[in-house]
Symmetry: C2
Subunit: 457 residues, 2 copies
């Protein structure tokens, strides 16, 4: 075997984890609960209009291990366990003594980690007698994942897709339709929110906030319909723990353990998914986890964890959702139109935020051009063309490997390759043709939007 | 385990085959050699202007097993061994007693089986001191595969992409550029052929024949440059045998053997790749292979194996290549613009043609709409959205499974899922919106083009 042999560490489907890991059981201090507009703690029954009981229970649970239903594992097995791959060729290109591994989530039918949560969300809704799911989507990663998951359980799916994306990203829309979903440009005529918006401006380009409102309105107003969300919330991060749990089993097989774990961080589900199961070892006082660092990588254009405030804020731009304690740039912060659409969120998961606040997660902001540099270097050494979100993790992993080269340490680096870039080639086009720019959000603009934080908590 | 559990039969990278299988060693009668325009058998030295010696040797070899160089296996291991998957959910949807398996080749970085041959072609050229590879591409599957493979070995790659596709399919072009290739709209100003074509018509839309001529002209006129071809030729089918060899090992693991093998057939490399290693068992008189049927599926709009003549003909439209004994619709046959671009070829590999002529391969033509019906049914049960070429195999596999249901036989069906459809979503769009048509080529049009067959052999 040559030194360049890539090691793919497979797990047999029979070795797939049977339980998700809930980091809420291992938080150093109790989590701050979500609050209603009245400042009171949100009660489970307030969520029943849009979520099934099983999801609400998971959202509030402090139980460490939660069983993955057999019906969910059946669908996971269409692509899981996902491969853990040693990036031998990238290591050689960098000349680093570090061992770089990536967990590749792009093998799912929808091409990213998102189906890890879409499948159980569809299952629990089916079990609760729900007939239809609604959701919003921007770039389309979550919309396509819930379309796939709904089809697997025979649920109707309605996706409110931001009007601009609906017309600019027809491929993702067609993917959703191939899986049988109905996709509507938002604002639409189907909801009061949509009709009101169209009455004001018939050519409304739409926004994620507007699309959320339409999806929630439909779910709240119909007994047979529920709403689904692809990141941020606790139950989503719970489902994504399958990524890190598998990776731990795979590292066990080769007798290694990571020194650094790197993941892109927007809402926080892919980062939490890979990092939390390793943080469990730290919480349990395991010696092998003592030196472990977990790095959450965000764009400099949307620097939630590195420049935001740790405070109660709304989850959406319009102030419809409960208030959550999290790092936030302010709910009316509008990040520029960078290509890692999945990382353009003003806030971050409460769990990731708390662990960052408590020093267990290390935030890092990287500029856009450097992420594409890293993505192209990765594609040219390892073959896979990564999604722009994943490029953020690759940038940080490469920088860790170069630091290891400088210091001569044979570190073990693990990063989450959250998805492929097959539907993002126009972003690469702009990069190659020099049309991409770096954008660091001015500190005074952040200060201004932070002044609109709600006065609670 | 529930009855719906999908069984992914993984192979460990260490279990990957070390040798390719050459069906030329097991042909019932000697193969008909390629002939020059003078009717004489082509000599190896006549190919040296565009191919390295190792490839020429493989093209003419009758050796049964040919070792896969370690450097090639190193790259194969970036995605191989590919999974063999039991399509439990498709079986349930069909209500068939048949066991349906698919070998999934879409896991390669380029998204299809094509890199299986692109990688060794790049390796042998690198070994021979070649600095640059040329090729033509239409839809872009082969062009992207050779771009990836060239990058793995540090070779420059120039792709002549049919002008219309260059502008209509920017995503595939960008994929090639991400791997560092130069992509030119053909006809181009870089070759005499291209300049002549542009002089006649500055807005020439291009054709695959013209692009081949440009790529061959550049390769023939520069000592440091060679040409590569993605299907049809013997060495390409040799390399693709890795598909069927892995599948055999995977079936051995679960104690099964296929009754029917189905593959799409254009030039013939993906069909030969999956079927030939099983035909080896038949040639060796193995009892388990006695009942085996191998079905090559082509579009009714380009019915080479089912309605063509078995005769000597040119490999290209312009008559530049040697004459090959094969099923052909006539080299000036122009198939309609169906969406399975990879199956629009007037001829078929000499090896597939001979085995069809001798009754060991069973040809089948299927209409376009029925292939998309099958592809959507597959996506909605198994998740993966298949390439239009792969949909042809899925159509035939589903029909075999329905026949097994009618007869009550628990047949084992294997098909080659040659690639994903991430770059073909506009074809699905046309299907969903009712813009796709069936097209059976009229018999008199085929008779007319067969009248232009060269008078040799």
């Amino acid at each position: 075997m040559s030194s360049l042999e890539p090691s793919r560490i497979y797990l047999d489907p029979a070795e797939m984890p049977t339980h998700w890991y809930n980091v809420a059981a291992d938080l150093p201090t109790p989590p701050a609960p979500p609050l209603g507009p009245d400042g009171e703690v949100v009660k489970p029954e307030q969520m029943q209009a849009i979520f099934p009981d099983a999801i609400i229970e998971q959202e509030m649970s402090a139980q460490r291990w939660i069983e993955i239903p057999e019906e969910v594992r059946d669908i996971y097995r269409l692509w899981r366990p996902s491969p853990l791959v040693r990036a031998h060729r990238l290591e050689a290109a960098l000349g680093t003594p570090a061992k770089i591994f990536y967990k590749y989530e792009g093998v799912s039918p929808a091409g990213s980690h998102k189906p890890n949560s879409a499948v159980p969300q569809a299952f629990y809704n089916k079990q609760a007698g729900i007939k239809r799911l609604t959701t919003e989507t921007g770039a389309g990663q979550w919309g396509s994942s819930i379309s796939f998951a709904g089809q697997m359980f025979g649920l109707d799916v309605r996706v409110y897709m931001v009007n601009v994306s609906y017309h600019q990203k027809p491929y993702r829309r067609l993917m959703m339709q191939t899986w049988g979903a109905e996709v509507f440009a938002s604002p639409s005529e189907l909801t009061q929110t949509g009709r009101d918006a169209l009455a004001k401006d018939a050519n409304n380009p739409g926004s994620l906030g507007l699309a959320i409102s339409e999806a929630v309105e439909e779910a709240a107003s119909r007994a047979d319909t529920n709403y689904t969300l692809g990141s941020v919330l606790n139950h989503v991060l719970l489902h994504q723990s399958i990524i890190g749990l598998e990776a731990k089993t795979q590292f066990d097989k080769i007798g290694l353990y990571p020194d650094v774990i790197v993941g892109p961080c927007g809402g926080g589900s892919s980062f939490g998914g890979i990092a939390f199961p390793f943080l469990a070892d730290k919480a349990a006082g395991e010696k092998r986890a003592e030196r472990l660092r977990c790095v959450a990588v965000e764009p400099t254009s949307c620097p939630t964890l590195t420049q935001g405030a740790y405070a109660y804020d709304f989850g959406d731009a319009s102030g419809f959702t409960p208030l959550m304690k999290m790092y936030t740039l302010g709910h009316d912060f509008m990040p520029p139109g960078i290509h890692a659409g999945g990382l353009r969120y003003h806030g971050a998961s409460s769990l990731v935020s708390q662990l960052t606040h408590e020093g267990l997660v290390e935030p890092l902001a990287v500029p856009q051009l450097a992420t594409f540099d890293a993505g192209v270097q990765f594609a040219r050494s390892e073959g896979i063309i990564p999604a722009p979100e994943s490029c953020h993790a690759i940038r940080a992993a490469i920088d860790e490997a170069l630091a290891a080269k400088a210091s001569g340490e044979p570190k073990v680096i693990l990063f989450n390759l959250t998805g492929h870039g097959h539907f993002d080639m126009t972003s690469y086009d702009r990069y190659f043709s020099g049309q991409l720019e770096d954008f660091a959000y001015p500190a005074d603009a952040i200060r201004a939007s932070l002044e609109h934080l709600p006065k609670v908590g």
